[in-house]
Amino acid sequence: MNNPLLASANAGLAGKSSPFKYTGLALVLGVLGVGVWHSAHADQPVNGGTLIYATDREPSCLDPHVDGDMPQVFIAQQFLDSLVSMDEKGHIGPWLAKSWQVSPDGKTWTFHLRNDVTFTNGEKFTSQAVKANLDHMRNPATQSSTAGGYIQQYLSTDTPDDYTAVVHLSSPYAAFLEVLAQGFLGIEAPSALKRSRDENCQSPVGSGPFKVVSWDHQNQVVLARNPNYNWAPPYAHHQGPARLEKVIWRFIPEPSVRFAALRSGKVDVIEALPPESEASARKNHDLSVVIKDRPGNPTNGELNTRRAPFNDVRVREAFVRSADIDGALASIYFNTLKRASGPLSSVTPFYSAASAHTDDYDPVRAAKLLDEAGWRQASAGAVRQRNGQSLTVHIPIRATTSNAERTLWEQVQATAGQVGFDVQLEPMGDTEASERQGNWNYDVTLDYWNTNTADVLRIVFGSAFLGAAGSGGYHQNGSGFNNPQFDHLVAAALETQDPSQRADLYAQAQKIVADNYLQLRTYPQSTRLGVYKRAHDVWLEPSLSVTTLYDAWVSP
């Protein structure tokens, strides 16, 4: 899941070479999917020690099943394991489940589980735990908006024996394993889940490499090594217990303060490295940078097709092509970010590059399209009119939108204005922006969606997500797109396990989205870490580009 509350500026691509030479210290392999970094001076890993990690937002609850926002999955990844794992190529591998089969109708999944796993409270991991966890995510009382939302097809789990779990779904769901690999669906100890939701929020229990020791609200969470850990996922760099004895997970919301704490070595790793500090971090010999794109729907503005002017595809294309995103990114982010093109970020499984340039900046074409659609411009630079109506675009801007992203939209305002759009950026509180979103009272709404499956297309553009009855206006499909052919394609992609068929169906679906100009994509979501020289082997796991400290160690 994703939330614009999360510093939405945290996007970027590493690997752009910095003009400053920094010899022999850190090598960044952050380009598109390789989130590993090795220090050239790294000695042998050392056991023991404490790593201090500082992030921007504090989770509301440490159990990632509840709510389900990015800060929760980042910390949960350290103390929860998942049923299956996902590697850099998007392949699903074992983890707590050794193997699995799916029935021919795609509705029954049988998981064969490891028999040597214990939770940090001493409880054995069995098929009962699988049942308890899936039931927990799906239970409305859990208030799960991410994990529960991803397994809406879930019906029940049978436990024929301790190490076999048979999961029944209401409809075929080929993305099931992909979402199971996300930390949001991490497996917790059943006896801990039996406590009240709010109690479990404070101290969830998993089987991961660390366990939660204490949570000092608005300050830090302390994690301690799980000495019995011996079931790391296949992509991990070592086996056995974690190297760090202790992790202090701190919350420092102010970006410049967070960066200052890193620069002074007071913290070892910061998350959400501010884009404006990236150049300075790359220059600094004490620091290295780990940046990796997140899979899913990139940062974008969704165009509301349910009202004028964006109910006309020509006007939508004109708006998308009138916005000089490349120019804006170059001036605001100093070329550290590359424009996201296409409804899926390029690291998402089944990403198709076919429509990559259909949304390039082209003001001449934009003007032509607007003329065709009847929006006339009296003089150069004037706001276009049609039947006495101005071509006005209302964009609610949340209070939590980062300064860099605001500036980006101001550039959109300026370049679209040259073609004759009157772009109104309307700053407001988060709850008011949510209200406007719920009531379809916007022309563009800023959004993004982090997930490791192309099934995100169905959530963001599918007609089933236009707002279900009783949902009080909640809708995930922010463009209001309603296209039976598209719905059919993304539904068919869930019914087959065949990768080539899925790739073909998702390519067609991506083309439909591109042809309809439903979003103005800006930059990919990404995880951005700054690492002090004392810390080593800090890397980002593949499913959601989430920090993993299992292999990390600190110089004594």
């Binding site: 000092d216 709850t431 009080g472 909640y474």
Partner: protein
């Protein structure tokens, strides 16, 4: 009232007077608390948006309709507003502040966790403000024209500084630049220095301005002349005879100061990433977390009420004449 008091002995009279004043203050305090809580309650409900949407992850979350319905029911938001108000008032009267929607904890627990850092900050700021103000007034008032003018100027300048701006400047100079103090956190005295100064310097300006006026007025009085005539040194005159007069208006301003410090801690706690009630209040308001917002508001109101009571008491200690005059 005065005719009744005159007919009894001074001791009984004072006790009765004190009792009446306390009772009056108590009733007033309860009314103020009730009003502040009710205003917060309705203000939050008038703000567009709903907490369920904010808490279930904003517009991009994917909650099922059943999950949304369960949350609405759990928070009691399915009832008419006036009924919600009634239920909430009844609970409050029983001392039940409810559970925070967003923090997954009882409100009292959240306040307990965040209380100490904010009180530390407030106390440190108040102490520093008094110290700076006294140094400025005692050191420069009625010295020579230069020194006196400089003191006055500095006080006016400090009083005019916005706290958030000062916080950013202090952070940039003494933390990012000189690296004398940590930029964030709440471990140890060092991390308290910059945030406390950010709050204290403007307050010290205010305090010093009112204290200077009273102090200079006192220095013109005949008793100062007689003290000087007795051969006391300048500092003996200032500390022994003038100080008490300067302190009085400062004490009365401090009640307001404590309240404003707690209020201003919102920004300072955010800028320095410090734990505390201010930062928590900011989050609670932005998520429309009604129980938590009201809980913290009530707490801050209570601090206001208690400090103004305390100040009344201190006032009578510093200037016993007042217990006769007030009433």
């Amino acid at each position: 009232m005065s005719s009744l008091i005159e007919s009894t002995s001074p001791g009984v009279r004072r006790a009765r007077q004190l009792g009446q004043r306390l009772a009056l203050r108590g009733v007033g305090g309860v009314l103020v608390l009730l009003a502040s809580a009710s205003v917060t309650f309705f203000a939050l409900h008038l703000t567009p948006g709903d907490p369920v949407r904010a808490i279930l992850g904003g517009p991009s979350a994917n909650p099922t309709p059943e999950t949304i319905a369960a949350a609405i029911k759990e928070f009691g938001l399915d009832k008419p507003l006036i009924e919600q108000y009634g239920i909430w008032l009844l609970r409050l009267l029983h001392g039940d502040f409810g559970r925070s929607f967003s923090q997954h904890q009882p409100v009292v627990e959240v306040i307990r966790q965040q209380l100490v850092p904010t009180l530390q900050l407030t106390a440190a700021a108040l102490f520093a403000a008094w110290l700076l103000a006294l140094i400025s007034v005692l050191g420069t008032a009625r010295r020579n024209r230069w020194l006196s003018g400089l003191g006055s100027l500095l006080e006016t300048l400090s009083a005019a500084l916005p706290q958030f701006w000062l916080a950013l400047v202090l952070l940039a100079v003494f933390s990012f630049g000189l690296q004398w103090f940590p930029p964030e956190g709440n471990d140890g005295l060092l991390s308290l220095v910059l945030p406390a100064l950010a709050l204290a310097i403007p307050l010290a300006g205010f305090l010093a301005q009112v204290m200077r006026e009273a102090f200079e007025l006192a220095l013109d009085q005949p008793f100062i002349l007689s003290a000087r005539a007795r051969g006391l040194s300048e500092w003996q005159v200032r500390l022994g005879h003038g100080l008490r007069h300067a302190v009085l208006p400062g004490v009365s301003l401090s009640a307001w100061a404590v309240g404003s410090l707690v209020g201003n801690s919102v920004l300072v706690e955010l800028i320095f990433s410090r734990q505390g009630l201010g930062r928590q209040l900011y989050q609670a308001v932005s998520l429309q977390d009604m129980p938590l917002t009201i809980g913290i508001t009530l707490f801050i109101t209570l601090v206001y009420i208690l400090t103004s009571l305390l100040v009344d008491f201190l006032y009578t200690l510093v200037d016993p004449r007042l217990s006769e005059v007030h009433g």
